[in-house]
Amino acid sequence: MFTSRRTFLIGGALTVAALAAVAASLQAQDVKITDPRSVVMIVNRDSNDISFMDIKSKKMVGKTFLGNNVNPHMVMMSPDGRYVVTGGTRANKAFIIDTRTLQLVKVIPTDIAPEHLAFSPDSRWYYQGNPDGDSISVIDMQSLTKIKTIPGFVEPLNVTFLPDGSKAYVGNYGAHWVGVIDVRRHELLKKIQVAPVPGVAKLDPGKYLGEIKGINIAAPSNDGRYLYAADSDLAVVGVIDTREDKVIKTIRVGRDPWRIYMSHDGNYGITANNGDETISIIDTRTNSVAATLEAGPDMTGINFAGGKAFVISSTSGFVYVYDMQSLKPAGRIKIGTNVQLETATTDTADEKIYLAESTNHEVVIIDAKTHAIERVRNVGLFPWGTHIMDSKDNYCH
């Protein structure tokens, strides 16, 4: 009895000491972010770093340098908030940052030119797409190691996990099919053809045998039952039933849709049609085009907030606004002249949009209600994209 009590006391003392040591260690490493939801992450392509901006104060709370000539492409926080990751396109590496300390904790070699990425809902797997390597790198976030490279894709851009994490869907920009990955085995299970290439394609080798512009992303409905995949060359959106992994409907949209963006209520999906500078609004209840409206050139993203859709026209310097109730234009916000707009994220309250503007190295905050803008300058060189944990508009281009 005496021995066990002494053991208990010693054990307790050791535990307290260990916790104190960990706390002291973290203190020593300078905890910079206590609430992962409190920051906007900004990926800066040319300064090769990730900036962290406090949402409330709009001040920079830290910056993580990744290395020379890394050219990070997309930044994302793991769903559990522990890590922030990015793919270094020119470094061919994945970079893992500790969210609390903003320390770069691991650099993992991937395949060629890693760009877009996704986490499994349980934060266990980090899938890094390598468009030039035609592969997906699978990174285990428990051991922080790359456990596998899944080959067989064709310029894989975006990865979408089902809500239950059982399967992941990969948009292939160099082909007209969506890849289905079995997440348990990390293997390519199936290729879902979104639509057949039309018979007249052989008359147009300039278009069909030149550069392929296929599928950017298979975007999920809110319940994950359906996926919407826009194919640029074919100008269609394929609706995929994830239970059977087959296309149940093909919806024709405007020319050269860059990709589809889903509204937060799940009622609409909007394609940004750069070929004819329009947007096609798809009603997901009927899976048909509810409206095709004029937009601007070189659209790189669509955000939803305050009951509106905000369409980023990259080279015009404008954000086009549409009322999602009446499905009609609701104005246009001028961001600047001779500026290049990149992509944006929306806060979790659906009130503000954080738009990366690369020419002046700034992030422009748009009030969704009033359309007022506020600039946060010098966020890093060539801000390429932004990200907020749990935002429904976390994407890249």
Binding site: P109, V200, L203, R252, V321, S326, K328
Partner: protein, 535 residues
């Protein structure tokens, strides 16, 4: 007993280059006094000794290789090995029969390693080598990846940036506001370090060159029509007509949001309108025909956008009606209906191009306001005596649960004749579904005898009920009632094959019935083909 001749030496995989060496590497002089050994016996699976087998010991740290042969009892011994860890192996017939790694050799001691050459030992050795091979392949792959990633341009890239600075009374420039400093705009070079592939660099250079150059576009079309008389006694019957048209466009960016555009057109051929005196043109291209086989400047204007690009001003020689009543389903004789009655409102009443200005205000909220004026008579010696004005308000929205539709109303005046003539009209295009769109137009104008009336309506199809994805087709009807008693009824159907992005082939069937007066009527059925290329 395993054949001793068939047993050969293998050196450990990790000492790849050393494997080619048969001589033991000389140990460092200062290690000479610190040696140890390995010894043991080699037996086969049945337990019998294996004679004349060569056992190899490779120093794991420096790759130094030592060999020893077994005697008749299968015994082998390495008597004086430098200290360290050794990989011991035996290869038989090219296959590793045994491998053990990490045998420690300590000073003045002899480690014992008895070897049994059985299937399990061979399998373990094989697996070890397989793993090492995989690691080596992975290393090579990584090196290739690194090589590929480094095969890019990484020289610094410079670009010029517009910056806001603050200049004080002394002319010193500050990045942030300081007391007494005034904000100013300047330009400065910025240097960034970004790796780009050669392809990216070339693409950027090409894009830049394209932006600075004059763009040239071509729109060439040939419309062939056959006319069969269905009513009346006019001479024209069972005749073929053809009209070829080529438009050459020039576009150049001159300044911020300012472009120059010119359209030179040449036509050749005989349209049915040369012989059939219908109220409206049976071939919409006929309107462009000024002189046969000659190039004519059709349009040449400057366009600039002001007030946040909400207001667009176009000035120069233009066709003002191009900017008004832009019905999405029936507006273009080059891709939709061929008959002029179905692509234009006949009550707009402007027959020729001329000097003018068009202003378009688009607040991007669904409304669109337009106003323009143009010289309507090219023979007039001043603009005041040939002033044609046109105003329009349009609104785009999604009525009820339908897709988008645009509704517009316009009003025009023309003082070319002694009395100012006025006209007004409405027009709409409304999608019923993503595949089906309706259109309708109505227009009226004042004339001496009263009022002329024109209306047209029809339906257009795209994205459905078609052969190829980008094909379109439509059916339309137009009617004109003149105060003078003349009237016309025209119907047309077309199917437009979109063969490629630059090439279209369409088939048309038109019927027109005209009544020049109460007693005369003539009708024609006109099947036609239009071949159109634009690039």
């Amino acid at each position: 007993m395993r054949s001793a001749a068939g047993v050969v030496v293998l050196l450990a995989w990790c000492s790849g280059t050393a494997a080619a060496q048969t001589q033991a590497a000389p140990p460092p002089m200062n290690m000479a006094d610190h040696r140890g050994g390995i010894r043991g016996a080699v037996r086969n699976e049945a337990g019998a000794p294996v004679a004349n087998a060569t056992v190899t010991a490779v120093n794991a740290e420096n790759g130094a290789q030592f060999t020893a042969a077994t005697d008749a009892q299968g015994a082998y011994a390495f008597g004086a090995l430098p200290m360290g860890r050794y990989d011991v192996a035996i290869v038989s017939a090219g296959l590793t029969a045994f491998r053990r790694t990490g045998i420690a050799v300590e000073a003045d001691r002899t480690a014992t390693l008895d070897i049994t050459m059985n299937a399990a030992a061979a399998a373990a050795a094989s697996e070890f080598e397989r793993q090492q091979l995989l690691e080596r392949i992975a290393t090579l792959e990584q090196r290739i990846t690194d090589l590929e990633s480094s095969a890019v341009l990484s020289e610094p890239e410079t670009r010029v940036r517009r910056v806001e600075v603050f200049v004080d009374a002394s002319g010193n420039e500050h990045d942030a506001p300081v007391p007494g400093a005034k904000p100013a705009v300047t330009y400065q070079r910025e240097r960034v370090y970004r790796r780009q592939t050669i392809n990216e660099k070339i693409e950027e250079a090409l894009e830049e060159a394209e932006e600075r150059s004059v763009s040239v576009g071509v729109d060439a079309a040939m419309g062939t029509q056959f006319a069969g008389r269905t009513r009346g006694t006019l001479d024209a019957n069972k005749r073929a007509y053809a009209l070829a048209s080529a438009d050459l466009f020039f576009t150049a960016g001159l300044a911020q949001y300012t472009v120059f555009f010119a359209d030179i057109v040449g036509l050749s051929g005989s349209p049915p309108d040369a012989e059939i005196p219908s109220l409206t043109l049976l071939n919409g291209y006929t309107a462009r025909l000024i002189r046969q086989n000659e190039l004519n400047l059709r349009e040449a204007w400057l366009r600039t956008e002001l007030f946040g690009q909400r207001l667009a001003l176009t000035a120069g020689r233009l066709d003002l009606t191009n900017y008004f009543d832009q019905n999405a389903v029936a507006n273009d004789e080059s891709t939709q209906f061929l008959s002029d009655a179905l692509v234009n409102n006949q009550m707009l009443g402007l027959a020729s191009n001329g000097t003018g200005v068009a202003a378009e205000f688009d607040p991007k909220n669904g409304f669109r306001f337009k106003f323009g004026f143009q010289q309507s008579n090219t023979d007039a010696t001043n603009l005041s005596d040939s002033m044609y004005t046109l105003s329009e308000v349009g609104y785009t929205f999604t009525p009820f649960t339908l897709p988008e539709g645009t509704y517009r109303v316009w009003f025009r005046t023309d003082n070319t004749s002694a009395d100012i003539t006025k006209g007004a009209g409405v027009s709409f295009d409304q999608k019923l579904t993503a595949a089906v769109g309706l259109f309708a137009r109505y227009g009226t104008q004042e004339v001496d005898l009263g009022r002329d009336h024109f209306y047209s309506l029809g339906v257009g199809f795209q994205n459905g009920l078609i052969f190829n994805p980008q094909d379109t087709w439509g059916i339309g009807y137009a009617q004109m009632e003149m105060a003078s008693g003349e009237s016309e009824k025209l119907a047309e159907g077309y199917y437009n094959f979109n063969l490629t992005e630059r090439l279209r082939l369409s088939f048309h069937l038109t019927h027109v019935l005209d009544s020049p007066d109460a007693d005369t009527r003539f009708g024609y059925l006109l099947p036609g083909v239009r071949f159109q290329a634009s690039f």
